[in-house]
Structure formats: C-alpha cells, structure tokens
C-alpha cells in the first residue's frame, strides 16, 4: 500500500473518530447537560465534515499528481 492510500485510510479513521467524539459529547450532554458538550458535539461534526472534504480533495489531487509524475 502506498503512502497516499494509507493516508486516505487514516483520514477515514480520523473522520470516524470525530464522529465518535461527537456522539460521546451528545451522550454526555444527555446525562450532564451544559453548553460545553453541545459545543463539543458541533465542533466534532464540523471537524468530521472538514476531514471528509479534505479526503476527497486529497484523493482528487493525488489522482492528478499521478498523471503528472
């Protein structure tokens, strides 16, 4: 497996972690309540979205790079 393929695998796992962290924040918010957990859940979702966007950008860029090199 090349570095670029492993990087995409890594980004997938990082996205899953961000989604999991968001779920954890929502779970704690249901038990405890408080703005910090809701903020954490939203921030984690934003990070997960950003990682997905980055993953697609990277995949397309690498495809293009392979054509160049």
């Amino acid at each position: 497996m090349s570095l670029k393929a492993f990087h995409i695998v890594f980004i997938i796992f990082s996205t899953l972690l961000a989604l999991g962290t968001s779920a954890w924040c929502i779970w704690v918010d249901l038990i405890v309540g408080g703005p910090v957990y809701l903020t954490g859940a939203i921030a984690s979702l934003v990070v997960a979205t950003a990682l997905m966007v980055y993953g697609f950008w990277f995949w397309r860029k690498m495809k293009r790079l392979r054509l160049i090199t």
Binding site: W24, I31, V47, T69
Partner: protein, 291 residues
C-alpha cells in the same frame, strides 16, 4: 557497496525494497500494539466494580494532541507530494511542520499530562473500613442511584513522606470533588474539563488502606496499561521525529540533488511509519480518554 532496488522495483515483488521492509515491520507493530490493546480490553472487562478509574484524564488536552497528530499526518504526506513534484522548498517547510507537531505532542504528553498524574494520589480502602469513610465515599448514595461502589479516596497527598515512612500512621489528602461531596450529583458525572482538587482535607489511617499510591503504573491495571501504551506510543513518536529531522537536514538535500526519487522513497517509508503511529493514537484516544 550500492544497495539495490532503492528506487526501481524488484521484478519478483514489484516493489522497491524499503517498502517491503516497512510493511513487514508495521505488521510486527500491529501484533505488538494489538496484544497491548487486547490486554487492556480484557483487563477492563474483568475489573471488579469500582476498581476501574474513570474520567481521570484531561479530554481537551487529549483532543488537542489528537488534532496535532492528524495535522502532522497531513503535513508529512504533503511533504512527500512536494518531493514528487520536485519542490524542495515546500518539502522543507512541510517537513519542519511535521517535526514541530511531533515535538509539541511529546512535550504535552510527557511534560504536562504525565506529571499531572504523578501528583495525584489514591487510597483503596479495605472492605471492612468502608463504613468508616462513608462521608467521603457516599456508598449509600451510590447504591441508591445504582452507581458502581466507591472503594477509593483520591486527591493531592499533603504528607508525601507517609508513602515511605512507616512511623507516619495516616495520609492527609486534599480531596477530589467526588470524595469531598460524594452525594452531590454535579461531581459524579463525566466532565469535559477535570474538576480541581478541593480544600477539604481527609485523614485516612494507613491500617484502613488496602493499597495507596500516586497515579503511577503501580496504582491500577488502568494506569499500568495507560503508561505502557502511551509510553510505547511516545517512544514511536520520538523515533519518527528523529528520522524526520535526519530527512530534513542538509544531508538529505545532497541526496535530493543526486537522486530526488530516492529521497522521496525514504520520505514515503518514514511517512508510512508516521501514519501507523498516528493511527495507533486514533485508537488510544477513545479507549483511554472517552470510554
């Protein structure tokens, strides 16, 4: 002597040699960390109620360190891509960014997070003495609320000498909120930011204590697993940083000038190792910090 297949691929494997080597190495690493994670999971499943510490790590700091490692992975792959495009200057900056991320991670882990644990103290109370310390444990309340039993009193140890001096008969502990106000539901919850130690002091007689240590590997299987796995992971991060420093120094520029593809392959191998180390952290963070 020239090492063969550093750039071109071997006809039998279809790969250059270092790539075969790094994947064999990573396979052995999977077995190493896989064994440790399995041990952690089985120790946790088998832990008697009330003996597994929860919510003792700083989640925001762990989250920040996770972000640092993700950013470093992005940087190392961009460094490699820059080399492939023969942009050495961009490679140099991305590699510097990766090195700095690794150093920041290590400083936070070893210089901030670990020392926070060293200063924390925990005393597991003998079963027959639990009633004596009910005001700090609140086991009647815990049973009423269907919470796990509380067997430990934690906080900052005021008389550190008590750990070694047999003539000192009691521990003086500035209590954690859970032990200072054991029936307050506000403190008996997972907390994003750890609650600070209170001013309330408890005196715990040594003869009532089953075992007492600072938050070190000797404290519990939780901390033994935590320090083993995060320590081993930290050693891998340090190794990665050292390799990246070598690949960033002027000595590598000479290789770039003579054979840029060879340097790109070296960076790819180091990048694969770095991604593996970061992937390990992706599992460490939820296991130790969140669950």
């Amino acid at each position: 002597m020239e090492i063969p297949y550093t750039v071109s691929t071997r006809p039998d494997t279809g790969l250059w040699n270092a790539k075969v080597g790094i994947w064999l190495f990573l396979a052995s690493e999977v077995m190493l960390f896989g064994g440790l994670f399995s041990a952690y999971i089985f120790l946790r499943i088998d832990a008697p109620p009330g003996t597994w510490p929860r919510g003792v790590l700083n989640v925001p700091v762990g989250t920040f360190n996770t972000s640092i490692l993700i950013i470093s992975s992005v940087m190392v792959v961009l460094a490699w891509a820059s080399l492939k495009m023969r942009r050495y200057r961009a490679y140099w900056w991305y590699m510097l960014g990766t090195i700095l991320c690794g150093i920041v991670f290590l400083v936070i882990k070893l210089g901030y997070e670990w020392p926070l644990d060293y200063v924390h103290f925990g005393a597991y109370i003998k079963p027959e003495a639990l009633g004596k310390y009910e005001q700090y444990l609140g086991n009647a309340y815990a049973a009423e609320k269907d919470l796990p039993p509380r067997l430990e009193i934690t906080g900052h140890l005021h008389n550190q000498a008590a750990l070694k001096d047999p003539n000192i008969k009691e521990y003086e502990v500035a209590l954690d909120p859970l032990n200072a106000y054991p029936t307050n539901p506000e403190v008996d919850r997972p907390h994003f930011f750890p609650l600070p130690v209170t001013d309330k002091i408890a005196k715990i007689e040594k003869e009532d204590v089953e075992r007492a240590t600072m938050f070190l590997p000797t404290h519990s299987t939780y901390f033994a697993s935590y320090f083993t796995i995060t320590g081993l992971h930290g050693a891998h991060v340090l190794g990665g940083v050292l390799v990246f420093i070598y690949l960033w120094l002027p000595v590598s520029k000479r290789l770039y000038q003579s054979n840029p593809e060879h340097l790109a392959n070296r960076v790819e191998v180091a990048g694969l190792f770095w991604h593996f180390v970061d992937l390990i952290w992706i599992f460490v963070f939820p296991l130790f910090y969140l669950l």
